[in-house]
Symmetry: C2
Subunit: 322 residues, 2 copies
């Protein structure tokens, strides 16, 4: 029985690495993108993501156009997370017989809505019949200097490009049927998440040592940087930006805004480390890389952090078992 | 209601072309691969394929290792069909909770079995939970000179690199439970199809004007060349090579071997056109491109050919309706 996505991914990664030594200039499984050296100072970036109806989007509150948008956004964000420029996308879709051709066109319109905003061209794909809607998008981009997850070192500062938490609140409200009346921004954030634009300006300003996009949650994704870099982190709770709607909601319902900020996935802000200390730049300084351990400083207390990420397999199996 | 894969693909293609003009040097939807100009005389090739349990493979007679092999073979073949060298693969898998981690490893072992035979490195991917097993593989290759589907012209000769028909017979026998005792080669051909190796030698010998791999059936794929090239074809039935097992089976069961040869998909032989007439080369001369119409010469009679291809949507819906 599949027990956890992370364990399985590690086994697959070990298998591939054992049976297939990576060709020169190629960096494989274990980052936002695979990196392929095209020429001196020119690298191809590849990423692929699969979204399945019911697990990654729910058509009871998410339109097909939004489903398309969300899936494309997730892939484009992976390219930005490597300091890349996204160029081409390839879309495989498993389509249920019950949905109409017009619905399928809506789905593709949503993907194109997002793709064209970011200069991405849908250059190919495949369509097959499926019981549930399945979208698998592969994306290709290029960069002159890839930023990996593995480059962080103790003493580096941790930055995030914007507030997090809105997508999780939006999801909760949409799932509960509370809709998008009062917390419209959070609902929109969940339905049409926007990849972070301007990574080239960011890298020029900060010279990041490691970078990732927030797709599974701030702490879960920070853990990946730490795992690949062999280090730990210390986050300053009061420095982590939270959207106004999340603060209002949490105040009104006695909830913890920090939980949203740390656990919310599909945010697509960039999370990165840098040797430079920049207090008032284009990103928020939220912590520091340390040799070992994971801590959050809350009201001057240094408390051990728990991984608040979203493990698709475990949570989905839990749902099935419920 | 989805009525036919080809219609839907045309609508998607029209939508993409209308909303997104292809960037310079990029050739999009409508060939085995998308082509991206990296530099003078160097092109990136991209292809993606989705396989779903029940539609593309049946785990009642196909092992997970074979399912992995088959899916990888289909993608690698797309690169060869463009005169390319396959380099990197990216695997997204939707995995049912009911199958064990060891089964998943078997699936990946099958993909690697095929990948390493053809010099392909699995460089990334995604795994998610799914009700049915879904495999989406994207592949990247390169070529100095892509051969498109669109270059055929009246007067060109039509060639195929080997016999076809075995995969369809293998499928029938496996589905009926007749197994792989008497017709072992055909069953193996279906379970572990082999992409055609040596395309560089082939293009040096024949200078193909158009090329495709046989994934949906000889006539169905030839129709694609004709559609993209704006022409017709004439096939010589007696010149089309058929595997010995298919001939034996057809003789014993009063079946038509030509039907298998023309209709069998997932063969992964290359089908191409050339201005050169080579009678005893490394491929079989099976016909000629004509300005218009589709004909098969059988016993000196010129009969109109029907598209014997396999339309996933229609056939699957038919199955559901049955």
């Amino acid at each position: 029985m599949i027990t956890g996505e992370f364990d399985l991914i590690h086994r697959i990664r070990d298998l591939v690495n054992r049976r297939q030594p990576a060709p020169t200039g190629t960096i494989g499984i274990g980052d936002d993108c695979a990196v392929y050296r095209i020429a001196e100072g020119r690298y191809g970036l590849f990423s692929t993501d699969m979204s399945i109806e019911g697990t990654h989007f729910d058509l009871s509150y998410c339109s097909l156009r939004d489903a398309g948008y969300r899936s494309m956004a997730s892939n484009i964000s992976d390219i930005y997370a490597m300091n890349g420029r996204p160029l081409l996308a390839f879309v495989s879709a498993g389509i249920p017989g019950r949905i109409s051709e017009d619905d399928v066109i809506d789905l593709y319109d949503g993907m194109i809505d997002c793709a064209e905003k970011h200069g991405v061209f849908i250059a190919g794909g495949d369509t097959v019949l499926s019981d549930k809607l399945v979208l698998s998008i592969s994306i290709y981009g290029e960069t002159a200097a890839p930023v990996m997850r593995s480059g962080a070192a103790p003493g580096d500062y941790i930055y995030v490009t914007g507030s997090t938490g809105g997508s999780m609140l939006g999801l909760e409200l949409l799932q509960s049927g509370a809709g998008d009346q009062v917390y419209a921004e959070c609902c929109a954030k969940h339905l049409r998440p926007e990849p972070f634009e301007g990574v080239d300006k960011l890298t020029a300003e900060y010279s990041p040592t490691a970078m990732i996009d927030i797709s599974d949650g701030l702490t879960a994704d920070l853990c990946r940087i730490c795992e690949e870099s062999g280090c730990g982190y210390e986050l300053y709770a009061r420095s982590i930006p939270v959207p106004g709607e999340v603060e209002r909601f949490c105040a009104a319902h006695s909830r913890d805004a920090l939980m949203y900020a740390l656990g919310s996935g599909e945010e697509y802000q960039l999370l990165f480390t840098s040797k430079l200390k920049i207090e008032n730049g284009n990103a928020f300084l939220i912590g520091k890389i340390i040799p070992d351990g994971k801590f959050i400083i809350i009201n001057n207390n240094r408390v051990p952090a728990e991984n608040a990420g979203f493990d698709h397999f475990s949570s989905r199996l839990k749902k099935q078992a419920d």
